[in-house]
């Protein structure tokens, strides 16, 4: 009995404990709510996110000490890789909370559950990043997904929101089933669910079981669904369009990064012996994901839907770096996901501000003439769109540069070419919005007056943080690269 307890290192899960306490606190506040509390849910959850952020960096050892801490019988790993992902998640969560507060007030839906669910989803993502074992990973994935299903349907008076939640729930549950089946097959073939033990078993006995390959394929399906990779992307446009704008921002940043975090840990740490089997599979998926995402985005008029397809395409770029693996590959995955969090949430912050009550103004034509009426919003939006398109001097450019140089270095020249061509194609639909903002007149003056965007201080802060992130990642990449490289080393 002594032995069991000695492996429990509670300080390894302090950030998760703190977030759990804060989400429970918000639930209690909601339970005994007075109208006065309404405005505080957001701030309370922000405090929770900041506290968790501090503990991610400091506990159980400093980020820069580069120690790897195992806890709970190796079910839980805290290394710099997990820490870096947790920073991305908490960053995305914090920005989402900032852009949500005024939005919820306008929609008259200031309930504590919203923030509690966002925090629960974040805890789930953090569990996914730190899971050293497949069942723990599943637990985190479920916590994240279940919270997101509810959040997608949060504006329950809107039909599209309900549709999004239902679709996401049914398809997502199906994908979770694939994950479980994959875990079961891997367990059946290796006799363990611990990721390191799976690697040891496969390394020792080799590829003796077809069940192992089947299990790996099932995991690809499950992670592919959660990260919205083609051909498992069908849910993305509908869900991203229907969900409330701040939740779309949240979903496109954190959960996607969480899926990649778990994907990379399981495949790089657990199944490197099967690399021959998954290389071609992921090659095809990466090429398809980039191409289909970008091509369909070209014809979208709804800007949320357009960014949904763009997020599919960006997952494709990340997959290229994932395939390149190695130090450069995984470092560029981390770098790109950090950049993507800044630029995508930034863009969605502007969309949230402009959409108006009930989100009627989410079409490209609603952005006509924005550059003259609201220069600040238009400049910020252009910056985020340039970054998404990969134009210097933004973080998006540096991210793509690292990804494609990693791909070329590892010999995936064909894939790099496809990626660059896609990147060029994507410029068209990002610039279309910029052109509408600066070179077109609003369709009618009255409409333009009605379309006054709502900029709350919190939202402006979120936009500034995102803009700062995008610019500093683009202009001063070296310090970020150093951090990213340290995070990669942990995975080895």
């Amino acid at each position: 009995m002594e032995q069991v307890m000695s492996t429990i290192n509670l300080s390894a899960i302090y950030p998760e404990i703190i977030l759990t306490c804060f989400s429970l606190l918000i639930l209690l506040m909601q339970s005994f709510s007075t109208p006065r509390f309404k405005e505080y849910y957001g701030y309370v959850s922000l405090v929770g996110v900041l506290a968790a952020l501090a503990f991610v960096v400091m506990e159980p050892s400093s980020f820069f000490a580069q120690t790897v801490v195992y806890s709970f019988n190796d079910m839980w790993v805290v290394d710099n890789y997990a820490r870096f992902f947790k920073l991305i998640f908490l960053l995305g969560t914090g920005l989402t909370i900032l852009i949500s507060m005024k939005y919820l007030e306008d929609e008259a839906m200031q309930y504590g559950e919203y923030f509690a669910l966002i925090l629960f989803a974040t805890i789930g993502m953090m569990i996914m990043a730190s899971a050293g074992e497949l069942i723990t990973l599943f637990l985190g994935l479920e916590l994240m997904s279940l919270s997101l299903y509810v959040l997608a349907g949060y504006t329950r008076v809107r039909m599209v929101s309900n549709e999004a939640a239902l679709k996401y729930f049914i398809l997502g549950s199906f994908a979770t089933g694939f994950l479980l089946y994959g875990i079961a097959l891997i367990y059946g073939s290796t006799g363990t669910t611990s990721i390191r033990a799976v690697a040891a078993s496969v390394g020792k006995y080799g590829l003796y079981s077809p069940g192992l390959v089947m299990g790996m394929a099932m995991l690809v399906v499950a992670f592919g669904f959660k990260a919205a990779l083609v051909p498992f992307h069908m849910w993305t446009p509908d869900v991203y369009e229907g969900a409330p704008a701040p939740i779309t921002a949240f979903m496109s940043a954190g959960p996607k990064a969480a899926a990649f975090a778990a994907f990379a840990r399981v495949f790089m740490e657990g199944l490197p012996a099967l690399q021959m089997e998954w290389t071609w599979l992921i090659w095809i998926m990466a090429a398809l994901t980039m191409t289909i995402g970008n091509v369909i985005a070209l014809v979208q008029d709804n800007i949320k839907r357009m960014l949904a397809y763009s997020s599919i395409a960006h997952a494709g770029y990340v997959l290229v770096a994932f395939l390149a693996a190695g130090e450069l590959g995984i470092s560029s995955v981390l770098y790109y996901l950090l950049t993507y969090t800044f630029m995508n949430i930034g863009a969605f912050a502007i969309i949230t501000a402009l959409s108006g009550r009930g989100e009627p103004r989410v079409f490209v034509r609603d952005y006509q003439g924005l550059g003259f009426q609201h220069p600040f919003a238009a400049v910020a939006m252009s910056l985020f769109l340039f970054s998404l398109a990969g134009i210097p001097p933004t973080g998006g450019f540096m991210g793509k540069f690292y990804i494609f140089s990693a791909a070329v270095k590892e010999g995936y020249i064909g894939l790099a070419v496809i990626g660059v061509v896609n990147s060029v194609v994507s410029v068209y639909y990002y610039l279309r919005v910029t052109v509408a903002m600066y070179m077109e007149e609003p369709s009618s003056v009255r409409e333009a007056e009605a379309a006054a965007p709502i900029f709350s201080p919190a939202l402006v802060i979120a936009i500034f943080i995102s803009a700062y992130g995008v610019l500093s990642l683009g202009l001063f990449p070296s310090s970020y690269v150093a951090i990213v490289k340290q995070s990669f080393l942990a995975l080895q």
Binding site: M1, T20, L24, L27, L28, Q30, S31, F32
Partner: protein, 118 residues
């Protein structure tokens, strides 16, 4: 073989109890049959309705609460069995678990989800 004798006794007792109840009710129970009583009975729903019957969503809500608090009991049993071995550590862990569940119950209660008509 001797350790299975208890199971056998248990089986016989269970069968005797169930059989005895059936026999006793058919022997000494009053038998008044009327139309409503002869209908198949299921949880307050009318037996002959359109198959497109819409259940109130409250049924599912209550079922969900039941599952959640049932799971609590499932976790509490092994803890109770191993209470001495787990000691203070196990006690504190369990109290944290129960506190979180209690917060859930408070939340459900205060939000009025336990009231059928609201």
């Amino acid at each position: 073989m001797s350790e299975y004798i208890h199971v056998l006794i248990m089986l016989v007792l269970a069968a005797a109890t169930a059989g005895g109840m059936l026999v006793a009710t058919s022997l000494i129970g009053p038998k008044k049959s009327f139309i409503d009583k002869m209908e198949p009975f299921e949880c307050g729903e009318s037996p002959i309705v359109s198959p497109k019957l819409r259940f109130s969503v409250k049924f599912y809500l209550v079922a969900l609460f039941f599952v959640i608090f049932d799971i609590e009991a499932v976790y509490a049993y092994p803890w109770a069995v191993l209470f001495k071995e787990l000691g203070l550590f196990g006690f504190i862990e369990m109290m944290i678990f129960l506190t979180i569940l209690a917060i859930g119950l408070i939340y459900v209660w205060r939000r009025g989800a336990l009231e059928w008509d609201r």
